[in-house]
């Protein structure tokens, strides 16, 4: 029996929705629920289905067992899925972090190489300056050493020359006798021309002639 409806009808699978005013003949489909019950069927009470008590209990137990089993399976699968998602996210995060850290490491190595090269050139420069300073100080020390040596030699010579006329212990008595026997005449005179006359008995012969300015007198 054909059912003619005013609206679209679902025949097994979904079909595209048609215009509302079209009337479609339906062969195998059900009457749509929004049309409502027919008047003859409105107050119909279907006869109760009598199931044996044992069967109902068994059915109940079987369905309950089935539902718990299916529920446990679905929960387990859900947990497995969530765990796999977490692991993949953590792995992706690690990969992205590792990649980032790798890039950072490359950049750091590059900068460190630049710093290293600058440090090496500056260290070489510093060591060269230190070397020059050391050489300078060494030459200065050698020169001062030479000067010291010369000075000591000069002093030694001077003292040796001076000591030539020194009186030794063994010749002391002779020196005393000589000193006692010799008389030093400290007398001297200066005339206006600047002539020096040494000794009491000089015979009017000037011994030395000097300029008057050397003895502090004005010319």
């Amino acid at each position: 029996m054909q059912n003619i409806c005013d609206a679209t009808v679902r025949i097994g699978l979904c079909i595209p929705r048609l215009a509302c005013s079209q009337k479609v003949a339906v062969r195998y489909g059900r009457k749509p629920s929004w049309l409502g019950f027919a008047k003859t069927k409105e107050f119909r009470v279907p006869p109760p289905k009598n199931w044996p008590k044992n069967e109902t209990e068994e059915m109940y137990l079987l369905t309950q067992h089935y539902y718990t089993y299916m529920k446990s399976l679905s929960v387990f699968q859900q947990k497995m899925y969530e765990r796999s998602v977490e692991e993949s996210m953590a792995h992706a995060k690690e990969i992205s972090e590792d990649g980032e850290i790798g890039k950072i490491l490359e950049e750091i190595e590059r900068d460190n190489a630049i710093v290293r090269s600058i440090r090496e050139t500056e260290l070489i420069k510093e060591w060269k300056e230190i070397e020059v300073d050391i050489i300078k100080q060494r030459t200065l020390a050698e020169e001062t050493e030479i000067l010291k040596q010369e000075a000591t030699e000069h002093e030694l010579k001077f003292n040796m020359e001076r000591l030539k006329s020194a009186i030794r212990d063994d010749a002391l008595n002779e020196a005393i006798d000589k000193a006692l026997n010799s008389m030093t005449d400290h007398n001297f005179a200066i005339d206006k021309q600047g002539n020096y006359y040494f000794g009491r008995h000089n015979g009017d012969n000037p011994t030395e002639k000097r300029k008057l300015s050397t003895i502090g007198l004005l010319e």
Partner: protein
């Protein structure tokens, strides 16, 4: 002011501390600076520590910041990561500003990352927002707005399919 003591007490002010972009990446855990106090090649690192270490700690309160002195011939910065790995930055004979720029370039979050974080923070902070990560998921939850169409259907004249001629008006079909 209780902390305006010592050399350059401006370093203790909130204004000074907040004006810093030394926000390190999230996987950095320890930041250690090795230097000497009296060597000439270490003076710039000493300046960096003096002016910028407080910035680092203020902006990264969960990171351990260390200074290790008088134990190295050349100054360097050592950074320890979450994975246990360490990175070494050689900062010998670099100025304070060069060291700062290098840390910002290599170890700090990029401006794009900071903008995204700021947006997310704004979304969470504003109580008037609704949607993902907010207290209200949909506009229909807010009093005074149109109720949820899944519970109370919207009048058919408001629906796009009737408004733009994709379907014909028929009240009986809508009911």
């Amino acid at each position: 002011m209780p902390f305006m003591k010592g050399f350059a007490p401006v370093r203790n002010t909130v204004d000074y501390l907040s004006k810093s972009n030394l926000i390190l990446k999230p996987y950095i855990r320890i930041f250690a600076v090795h230097y000497n106090r009296k060597q000439t090649s270490h003076l710039e690192v000493k300046d960096f520590v003096f002016w910028h270490l407080s910035h680092l700690q203020y902006k990264n309160p969960d990171i351990q910041v260390l200074t290790i002195r008088e134990l190295t011939p050349t100054p360097f910065i050592r950074v320890w990561l979450n994975s246990g790995r360490d990175l070494i930055l050689d900062v010998d004979r670099q100025t304070k500003d060069e060291i700062h720029e290098r840390i910002v370039r290599c170890l700090c979050k990029t401006p794009e990352e900071l903008k995204e974080e700021q947006k997310e923070a704004e979304v969470q902070e504003n109580p008037a927002n609704f949607g993902r990560c907010c207290s209200r998921h949909c506009m229909c939850e807010i009093p005074g707005q149109v109720p949820c169409p899944s519970i109370v259907p919207v009048p058919y004249t408001w629906r796009g399919k009737y408004k733009f001629g994709l379907a014909e008006l028929d009240e009986s079909k809508y009911l």
